[in-house]
């Protein structure tokens, strides 16, 4: 997750918490301080909730893992570039490694 997406997500959660708490307070006042108890949630809380939700979705999509190209050729190109070829073992053949030779090479490189 990038810095931007984390910031956006945290901000959106704070907003959402604030909106939730406001809605709770509003419903509290409605029940205990007024007689008119069928009023709906005020517009500013609605706006805050919707903004928070949209921001959260935005932050999540922004911070999601990059999609991989579905074409095998393009995907393979990416792997090849990072030296992660899934077929490299066919040319390195670990099962047939010549351990004495590798040790000698390493020892002579060390000198």
């Amino acid at each position: 997750m990038s810095f931007v997406s984390t910031t956006v997500t945290v901000l959106s959660l704070l907003l959402l918490f604030h909106a939730g708490y406001s809605a709770y307070e509003f419903s509290h006042y409605l029940k205990h301080l007024t007689v008119n108890s069928d009023a709906t949630v005020p517009l500013d809380i609605i706006a805050e909730t919707i903004v928070a939700t949209a921001l959260f979705a935005f932050g999540q999509v922004l911070g999601a893992k990059q999609l991989e190209p579905v074409s095998f050729a393009k995907w393979a190109k990416g792997l090849e570039r990072e030296g992660k070829s899934p077929f490299a073992f066919l040319e390195r053949r670990p099962g047939y490694m010549n351990v004495t030779k590798l040790r000698d090479e390493y020892a002579s490189a060390k000198k």
């Binding site: 393979a76 570039r81 990072e82 899934p86 066919l90 099962g95 040790r103 390493y106």
Partner: protein, 296 residues
Amino acid sequence: MTTTIDILRNAQTTSSYLTLAPEEFQSLYDISYKFVTSGAAARSLPPANLYNVFELQFFLSIIAGKDTEASAILATLTDRFRQDSHRVGVLRSIYLEATEGPLKALEFVSGRPDTELGTLKRKIVILKSSNQTSHYISELLKLVDNFPSDAESWAELASAYAEAGMYAQSLFALHEVLLLVPLAYNINALIGETSLVYASSLQAASSSHSVAIEERLFEAVKFFLRSVELCEDYVRGWAGVLVTTKRIAAIQKPVGDTSTYKRLYDVARNRLAKIVETQDASESELASARLVLKNY
């Protein structure tokens, strides 16, 4: 961002440690050593991955000549998986081969069941160090007879044939690899390269040009093209196309139609030039692309 875990997983799945330059090998060894001995590996990895890291560390230590370290890891793995585990058997035989010599190792692998592919491979490798190539090839042939679905053995056989100069047989083995792993673009490119070398060896044997040589060259182009079809902007593949089409263009009196190959030469040149221009490959691949462009 690549984490330590990613680096080690890559080294393990691609076996990169077998072909690394000394300083790169050293840095991989240091990373792995620190990760394993600090206990970070045991804390952060689920068991399956942890033992893969241990296995990698075993290979790194044994190659680096740190025999006591290797022996300690081997002991841990043996305690966990028991002596009769396939992979532990392979590690043990490699350890014996490196520290006590081929005879001890041979004695050990001879005691293993003959259904165990890993130790059978080790047995062949040990025999190779004392025998000649023909023996090596016949042993490998016996192995692929019993385990025809092991792509690694077919590839090893192909390389043994190529070393012996038996290119037709090498190509056959590589085609077997492709049957098992059809998407292996590097093997497609290797078939192209082997065909090219085969053509050269035919050329050297007979003074005049022949249909057989031409066919080998055409086939090389075909497989190089398949490799770039499977892996976009594959420098090795395009370089192969460039070199082979240049060779085809140089034929004095071609038997078949070579006009397509002239066009392919231009396509390959443009592709490589574009890759170099946009730096769209790893450093080493860019270097080879520049070299091929300069010389062909």
